[in-house]
């Protein structure tokens, strides 16, 4: 058994099975935690009927999704109607293939590294995630178009414009990391944040981290960027006509997308499976126990980001569409381009891992952004200056 697993192919196969099972469970329980956290934020109790603390709620939900009548409305484009949820779900799942979970592993404890605890480690791992992410827009577009509903199509239209717009600052923020690390291989990006004189990229480039975080919210269609499913304006969004398990696939796909995005940002900016100073989490620790510890740490960081996603969803209101576009094209894009340019300057000066240089540059850029936005008097988002003043008293009181 161990001999077989020492082959990277079979180890990857094992990892694949493990990750898919863990991921499906995690998606189901993300929905549970989403509901619990929303309840907590809104001072409610949340699901508590099915099982202790409502812990069996995802099973009940899954059963409901499976057993509901599977309605295909008349006048839909049937092949595409059926294909759209599959694309949304499938694309969200395959992004996981390149996330580095546990570094190198020495399975038989003979001092030599046998395999990497990762499904695949291509030289283009980072681009792979970007490519897969850019395909996820098809699920939304086809879902919105195929069901022959104008509201849903409007949602798909918004969503496409949003995803295409936010892909650009996202790419620029990632370029900062790529230039700093000098590689596209995700495992090497993790390793480049570890060791003497190296810190996590979030310390070097907090501004880029923030931009990537914002664009990830937009890419996953989460509040405050969930214009694709603005139920107050669009009935339900691009999945209005979907029911039963097809809706469930869209729903789970969104959570899978969130988990991939969290894993991505953890690898790029938060050192992946690494915690500074903790024995067992360093690149030299290659025992099986260390691998399990690393996987736990990675999963914990991803869970923390999932919590952030949910926290923001239940705290912030939704953007208006023009605010959304202005934020991306006039706000995030110039800033992220400046950051990417600054990262190249740092490489030229040989200071790409020096904290004062990188962090100082980020702070200067932040200050510059604030000053410029003040001088231009056209905030990147929010109200326009040529608007009448808002009366803060309610209309009833004013009368």
């Amino acid at each position: 058994m161990v001999e077989l697993l020492k082959d990277q192919f079979w180890f990857s196969a094992l990892m694949t099975v493990g990750i898919v099972v863990a991921l499906l469970t995690a998606q189901a329980y993300s929905i549970y935690f989403e509901r619990k956290i929303s309840a907590w934020i809104q001072d409610r109790i949340g699901p508590n009927r099915v099982g202790p603390l409502g812990l069996l709620q995802p099973l009940a939900d899954g059963g409901k999704f499976l057993l509901k009548e599977d309605i295909i409305p008349a006048n839909v484009d049937k092949p595409l109607f059926l294909l759209a949820p599959m694309i949304a779900f499938g694309v969200a799942m395959i992004g996981f293939a390149v996330l580095p979970w546990g570094g190198n592993v020495d399975l038989d404890a003979d001092g030599a590294v046998d395999v990497a605890a990762q499904v695949a480690d291509p030289g283009i791992g980072l681009l792979y995630i970007l490519g897969i992410g850019s395909l996820s827009v098809y699920g939304v577009v086809l879902g919105g178009w195929a069901n022959n509903n104008k509201y849903a199509f409007f949602a798909a239209m918004r969503s496409t414009a949003q995803m295409l717009s936010y892909e650009i600052p996202m790419g620029m923020a990632i370029v900062v990391v790529v230039i700093t690390a000098g590689t596209l291989r995700l495992e090497d990006i993790v390793l480049s944040q570890i060791g003497d004189g190296h810190v996590w990229n979030i310390v070097l480039h907090p501004f880029a981290f923030f931009i990537l975080l914002v664009t990830l919210f937009a890419e996953t269609n989460r509040t405050p960027f969930d214009l694709a499913e603005a139920e107050q304006e669009l009935v339900g969004g691009y999945h209005t006509e979907y029911g039963a398990l097809k809706f469930g696939m869209f729903f789970l796909g969104e959570y899978a997308h969130m988990i991939t995005g969290s894993g991505f940002i953890v690898v790029l900016f938060l050192g992946g499976w690494h915690l500074p100073g903790v024995p067992g989490l360093q690149p030299g620790d290659v025992s099986v126990g260390a691998m399990l510890l690393k996987i736990t740490v990675m999963a914990g960081k991803i869970a923390a980001f999932m919590f952030l996603f949910m926290w923001v969803r239940w705290t912030l209101p939704r953007f208006r569409f023009d605010q959304l576009m202005r934020l991306s094209w006039q706000g995030l894009l110039p800033i992220s381009m400046a950051l990417a340019g600054y990262a190249t300057v740092l490489v030229y000066l040989g200071k790409s891992t020096s904290i004062p240089w990188a962090l100082g540059g980020n702070i200067v850029l932040l200050a510059l952004t604030l000053v410029i936005s003040q001088l231009r008097q056209t905030p990147v988002t929010g109200r326009q200056t040529n608007m009448p003043a808002i009366s803060l008293t309610s209309p009833a009181k004013a009368r």
């Binding site: 030289g123 490519g131 850019s134 395909l135 827009v137 577009v141 178009w145 295409l164 608007m387």
Partner: protein
């Protein structure tokens, strides 16, 4: 051997051309079944010819055959499908089916760039424009192709001319993408230099002028597109604030 082989290639391509001709949308009796049968036969014959001359049937070649069949089949569908949305989506499938071929050729950077740029950005806008413009039924120009015979014949001649050159290639059976499979299945300690860094180095040293020129060209195109699409607003209406309730955009009432 070589002449015979070339004639066999021409024959299979003629078969494929006939299949495309039958599959192209036209009025009158449907010839779809005949087209499909001919197309499958032509594809199978091409694959057998490839297998007999260049490739064996073992190992990573399976991926070559799979993605090649999908790529060719969906490429045919791009031009023969009656609904433009499906054509655009088959185009996406063609692009996605080509990426494994590029990865087998160790050009993984190109493969992923193709997915990000083509499938992820350009074709989404294509699909989108088609969806927006095609709301009603199908117009005549989608149900009947113009000059199908000339088009098919031109395509056949071009393709056959290219494929005929394959006869001149040396006859050796190897496994496509030997390297890629080896790299994916060995432990990560013995990695070689990967394709991405080589592409990057070449772009930044040997071809830096071409690279920069391409960038400037794209920038000019972008500026031009913005300049053309920008609406000219008279100065007085643009400057005076008009807080009209219910207007979307800059003049909208906030609450």
């Amino acid at each position: 051997m070589n002449t015979e082989w070339s004639f066999m290639v021409y024959a299979t391509f003629a078969l494929g051309a006939a299949a495309v001709y039958f599959l192209l949308p036209h009025t009158g009796r449907s010839t779809k079944t005949a087209g499909h049968v001919l197309g499958v036969a032509a594809l199978a014959a091409t694959m057998v010819l490839c297998a007999s001359k260049f490739l064996g049937t073992e190992g990573a070649n399976i991926f070559f055959y799979l993605s090649a069949v999908v790529a060719v089949g969906s490429a045919v569908k791009v031009i023969t499908h009656e609904k433009p949305v499906y054509s655009a989506l088959y185009f996406v499938l063609t692009v996605l089916a080509i990426t494994p071929l590029l990865i087998l050729q160790e050009a993984e950077f190109l493969a992923v760039a193709l997915v990000i740029i083509y499938a992820g950005a350009i074709l989404v806008t294509y699909v989108f424009v088609i969806m927006l413009s095609q709301q009603g039924g199908q117009p005549m120009h989608d149900r009947q192709s113009r000059e199908p015979f000339l088009a098919v014949f031109g395509g056949f001649v071009t393709m056959a001319a290219i494929a005929g050159q394959m006869a001149a290639l040396p006859e050796e059976k190897g496994i496509v993408g030997d390297f890629a499979v080896a790299a994916a299945t060995t432990a990560i300690n013995d990695r070689g230099v990967d394709n991405t860094s080589l592409v990057g180095t070449a772009m930044m040293t040997e071809y830096v002028v071409a690279f920069e020129v391409a960038g400037v060209l794209l920038l000019i195109a972008m500026v031009g597109a913005i300049a053309m699409s920008k609406k000219r607003v008279p100065a007085e209406t643009a400057l005076t604030p008009m807080p009209v309730p219910g207007k979307v955009g800059r003049e909208v009432e906030p609450f």
